[in-house]
Amino acid sequence: MPEETIGSCTVKRLSILDPQGNADEILLPPLRGEDIRRLYELLVLSRTFDGRALALQREGRLGTYPSILGQEAAQVGSAFALEKSDWVFPSFREMGMHITLGYPMHLLYQYWAGDERGLVSPDDLNILPVCVAVGTHIPHAVGAAMAASYRGDRNAVVCYFGDGATSKGDFHEGLNMAGVFRAPVVFICQNNQWAISVPYDHQTAAPSLAQKAWGYGFEGIQVDGNDVFAVYRATRAALEKARSGGGPTFIECHTYRMADHTTADDASRYRPPEEVADWRDKDPVLRLRRFMTQRRLWNEEYERRVLDEATAAVDEAVRRAESAPKPAATEIFDYTNAELSPRQERQRKETG
């Protein structure tokens, strides 16, 4: 018997908005001017939040912090496509998603200052706590999606992670489960090219991450992750598919981590400055601004207003975070179990 081809994988890449701000008119999602302005404002707010976090960390007012600089479009664009009732399983570098969904910014600052109370999602949002252990939350998203199907809810589940997570066993086990059970889940991988010091080509020999979905029996797509329209369009399509029983989708947002891995890292030790400079030209905020300028949705006065509003919102969030009353020492006992064991009761008394 001769060899035959029993399958082949096509990997698509979606880009709508180029770095000069020119958009593909056919692919451009049907967003009104006010939606586009809202997207821009969210990008600016996310960047302002992030810049302030870095400054606060240098002043010793925040702990170790992972910057989202350069990845704002991947986060804002995807979250903009979500419904409030959807469930979100973040990793730890998605503050742009939080901000887009209306998660209170002061809670984010509180968390990154080392206070668990910052991870308490408001009741009208289903955003799970930050997952620090890379990729291990992927099966949780799949399980929640299976639970939504079981209950007959129309909620979709979104799981965020990075390129490093795709090397983990839980990525494989989670995506495999999602494929087998056609779970209504959207995997959003921010491929920012670097997992601390390990570059993409040491993370995988595959030419794209999107193609991995093919091995699990569902669709994967690469999008220009610095193109907010492409990210939004791909996420919206994937969510609609999930809600209508079409199963999971993997979206690889091809982007770049402009900053160090965290404030505890020094990326100049391992990556060439020319590479960073190349990506600066692909900046997600800049290109949307260029697009809006072409469409007369942007001018200097608008920019000043957006920046002022973002600064004021961040100022207020910092003030609220820093004026939160200190938690009681005994609070460490309050959430380990639903009820304290007699031994925990005794230990709790020791903390006063």
Binding site: L128, A133, P139, E173, N176, V180
Partner: protein, 320 residues
């Protein structure tokens, strides 16, 4: 009252909990069509459907991780890991997530999950099919560890574990699955977690055991006047029951199948030393598995604490 073995009792508990609460569902390898390799979930997929008794791909971390996601969403999943030796692949999910979600989210999200797994030696099975490493899980705050020792306790403890608001690792002594038959009520009942059971009452020695070793300790203590405490829940364990008995008898033998070093018996010994040392009339003796790799079937009987070894320990503390 009907006589049941542990397999039947566990099956009945699962069925009744699924009837009681539509949020309860089962998932694991071979739990559906095959009814589980030990038949614990026999007939349940036919009765409740394939979306409620879910045959999963072969992926322990994925099974527990997926079950965690279901629990976060509000369901009450019961995941099966086919043998305890394979739970290590899911250890990260249990310790990094199941145990911590309540705390991490300050109670906004919780993880009412049960992970059932057969454990222990004596069934002449291949490598990693006979582990008894319960102490790993007892060391992790946020996880409860429950170990039934017979059909009656298996049914009541499993029902309680499923209704518990926190994650429970539920260890089923494989060797006893079909060894013991006893009266088990058909109606629903629960046995509160965290409470020990007095399997035998007497004044001379406190014998503390759990799970697979209770049956052997019962045999070994025939003719002795002992309190035989079946802990039932290891985390949190019934400290007051242990101390009350020790204060009465002044002599302690701890019987565990797990390797001696850093086993749960060490925690018991330290607790007794800290809170009842002046009541002791003899050193605390641990009868435990040896600190060796769990042997294959040809040598396994040399590993598992025997009735003779337990008997020797009883005489040792009595004659000290």
């Amino acid at each position: 009252m009907p006589q049941m073995n542990m397999v039947q009792a566990l099956n009945l508990a699962l069925r009744q909990e699924m009837e009681r609460d539509p949020n309860v569902l089962l998932l694991g390898e071979d739990v559906g069509r095959d009814g589980g390799v030990f038949r614990i979930s026999e007939g349940l997929q036919e009765e409740f459907g394939a979306d409620r008794v879910i045959d999963t791909p072969l992926a322990e971390s994925g099974i527990v991780g997926t079950a965690i996601g279901m629990a976060l969403y509000g369901l009450r999943p019961v995941a099966e890991i086919q043998f305890m030796g394979f739970i290590y692949a899911a250890f990260d999910q249990l310790c990094s997530h199941a145990a911590r979600i309540r705390s991490r989210s300050r109670g906004r999200f919780t993880c009412p999950l049960v992970v059932r797994t057969p454990y222990g030696a004596g069934i002449k099975a291949p490598e990693l099919h006979e582990e008894s490493t319960e102490a790993f899980f007892c060391h992790m705050p946020g996880i409860k560890v429950v170990v039934p020792s017979g059909p009656y306790s298996a049914k009541g403890l499993l029902a309680a574990a499923i209704r518990d608001p926190d994650p429970v690792v539920f260890l089923e002594p494989t060797r006893l699955y079909r060894l013991i038959r006893e009266e088990v009520p058909e109606e629903k009942y629960t046995i509160p977690l965290g409470q020990a059971r007095l399997a035998r009452e007497g004044d001379d020695i406190t014998v503390i055991s759990w799970g697979s070793m209770v049956e052997r300790s019962l045999k070994a203590t025939e003719g002795y006047r002992v309190d035989l405490l079946d802990l039932q829940t290891l985390s949190p364990f019934d400290e007051e029951a242990v101390l009350a008995s020790v204060r009465k008898t002044g002599r302690v033998v701890i019987v565990q199948e797990a390797a001696e070093t850093c086993g749960f018996g060490a925690e018991l010994s330290a607790t007794i030393a800290a809170r009842a040392i002046l009541h002791l009339r003899a050193p605390i003796v641990r009868v435990a598995g040896f600190d060796v790799t769990m042997p294959l079937p040809k040598l396994e009987d040399h590993y598992i604490p025997s009735v003779e070894r337990i008997g020797k320990a009883l005489d040792e503390v009595l004659t000290y």
